[in-house]
């Protein structure tokens, strides 16, 4: 059985994100059932699972747009439930279902969100991100007419505006061609290493997860079934690769989550 990977920044003080015993139900449906995990500074953690496993619910609770029934979430040392604005000032996110307003241009969107996040030296930061994501030529183009790949780049630029300590990426490369996807993965990896930003990454592309994530958490029916290194985990469970392990877990959940994490 695989235990979560050891890494130098395992202490609670260094965690970008610490989730403890998180529970959330909708009516009678238990969407998240006692989930606990950490994302260390500079670490990229993949949150994997089939549709309906509870990934987006977990992300929404971290972003404070959904209140958990119980449990705690800390971003750095800040409790999201008690100091929402302070916690979210250190966080940012990009998700396929949260595109930026299409009736504002790329530069206007970045300025709008830069003010909301109270980014210092905002004009310079916007120029830096426009360059970094190859958006200079699109700065005055309304987001509503951009291609999905361009929109993803704008969403990532917005997500990095405040130099977050925790970055939540919900299928960030879903709309990108392979070359653009590789560029984004490279950029996020470089960012995590350079800035000590912790990243929580969801994706259905297991090859991508294997390439980019330091650690993965397999989620099913609101519980973490497995956690570990995406490169060694498949072999430990008799699967050829991560995709095969994913399918195996999605179809036949392991006997008991506690046994798998032991």
């Amino acid at each position: 059985m695989s235990a979560p990977r050891e890494h130098p920044a395992d202490s609670a003080a260094a965690d970008a994100l610490r989730v403890r015993d998180l529970r959330k139900s909708y009516g009678g449906l238990l969407a998240v059932d006692g989930v606990s995990f950490e994302v260390a500074s500079g670490e990229i953690v993949g949150l994997l699972g089939p549709n309906g496993a509870g990934k987006t619910t977990i992300i929404n609770t971290i972003l404070a747009v959904l209140m958990p029934d119980s449990g705690s979430i800390h971003i750095g040392r800040v409790d999201v439930a008690r100091q929402r604005a302070l916690a979210l000032a250190r966080t940012n996110f990009a998700a396929v279902y949260a595109s930026l307003p299409g009736n504002l241009t790329v530069a206007q969107n970045l300025r709008f969100f830069g003010l909301i996040y109270r980014v210092r030296a905002l004009s310079g930061r916007i120029e830096e991100l426009l360059r970094q994501f190859g958006l200079e030529a699109l700065r005055d183009t309304k987001c509503g007419v951009l291609s999905s790949g361009e929109l993803t780049r704008v969403a990532l630029a917005k997500a990095l505006l405040n130099r977050p300590r925790l970055l939540l990426l919900d299928e960030p490369t879903a709309s990108l061609d392979p070359a653009a996807g590789r560029d984004v993965r490279g950029a996020i990896r470089a960012l995590a290493r350079a800035t000590d930003c912790g990243v929580l990454w969801t994706s259905h592309n297991m090859y991508e997860v294997e390439e980019v994530c330091d650690r993965v958490l397999f989620l099913s029916h609101g519980r973490i079934l497995l956690a570990g290194d995406p490169r060694s985990l498949p072999h430990l469970h008799g699967a050829r690769n991560l995709e095969e392990l994913f399918i195996q877990l999605a179809r036949e959940p392991l006997t008991h989550p506690a046994e798998q994490l032991a």
Binding site: G52, L63, A64, M67, L86, A95, N103, L104, I116
Partner: protein
């Protein structure tokens, strides 16, 4: 309350107006149509009635002041609906933006846009139809404050309704001023209304404004107490609407409604 996030909400409205001049048209067009239509109706009534009432002052003045109140409400609601239409809730509410900052930004955006409407209104009504709000004296400022306050309260209430009942409830919001206008006694004295309607009218700050306006135009001395009471009532209603909005927001966070406004599913 931090200035930058409030400024962001205002700046967004400015970007939208600048980017699409068509958005500015309603600020001028409906006001202009109201001035022309009611200006001629009032002029006609003045010419045929022979009554002591100055219809231009009473009717046109009332229409324009009521229109202003509606513009404030619609300005605030439209600014809020921008985030519904562009599915922007998740980006906004998953940010450090505080609800108080968001609502303050919406209120300021609405006041700014309705001031433009007020300027157009005065520019047309004064020279073309000889309407003079100056006849109302200093109490005009008090009346405007009451109407702005009530418009803000209605706008926050309407936004809370859309947040609670979903984007489709937008159609419930637009007729609110029309539904309230009979109770606000915009065109007639309160005494015309049946007793139960008068009871409702007393809870609506604009009814004090229009009663006060008619009193001032008929030469009666200014009674400050009703106007001050209306101002207090409007302030209470703003506080009540804000409390309701925050309650609806908290419920939306608790139930997942806020996340569903943007996310396709709750997986």
């Amino acid at each position: 309350m931090r200035a930058a996030p409030v400024g962001a909400i205002l700046l967004r409205q400015w970007y939208l107006l600048r980017g699409s001049p068509v958005r500015a048209l309603p600020m001028f067009a409906w006001v202009g149509i109201d001035v022309v239509l009611w200006g001629f109706i009032a002029r006609f009534l003045d010419s045929v009635s022979g009554a002591a009432i100055n219809f231009t002052a009473v009717f046109l003045g009332a229409v324009l002041l009521w229109d202003l109140c509606g513009r404030v409400m619609q300005g605030l609601t439209t600014a809020f609906l921008e985030d519904v239409w562009t599915r922007n809730f998740l980006n906004l509410f998953a940010s450090p933006l505080r609800i108080s900052e968001y609502v303050t930004g919406l209120v300021l955006a609405s006041i700014a846009t309705s001031l433009i409407g007020l300027a157009v209104m005065l520019a047309l009504a004064v020279p073309v139809f000889g309407l003079s709000f100056l006849a109302l004296g200093a109490q005009l400022l008090l009346f405007l404050l009451v109407l702005y306050g009530f418009g803000v309260a209605l706008g926050i209430l309407a936004s809370a309704m859309v947040l609670r009942f979903g984007p489709a409830s937008e159609w419930l919001v637009w007729p609110i001023p029309a539904l309230l206008s009979p109770f606000c006694a915009v065109f007639y004295p309160l005494t015309i209304l049946p007793v139960w309607m008068r009871g409702v009218a007393r809870a609506l700050p604009p009814s004090y404004v229009f009663e006060g306006m008619r009193a001032a135009l008929s030469g009666r001395p200014f009674a400050p107490l009703p106007a001050l009471w209306a101002l207090l009532l409007a302030a209470l209603q703003i506080a009540l609407a804000a409390w309701l909005f925050i309650g609806v927001y908290r419920r939306a966070v608790r139930t997942g409604l806020l996340a569903r406004y943007s996310a396709e599913t709750l997986s």
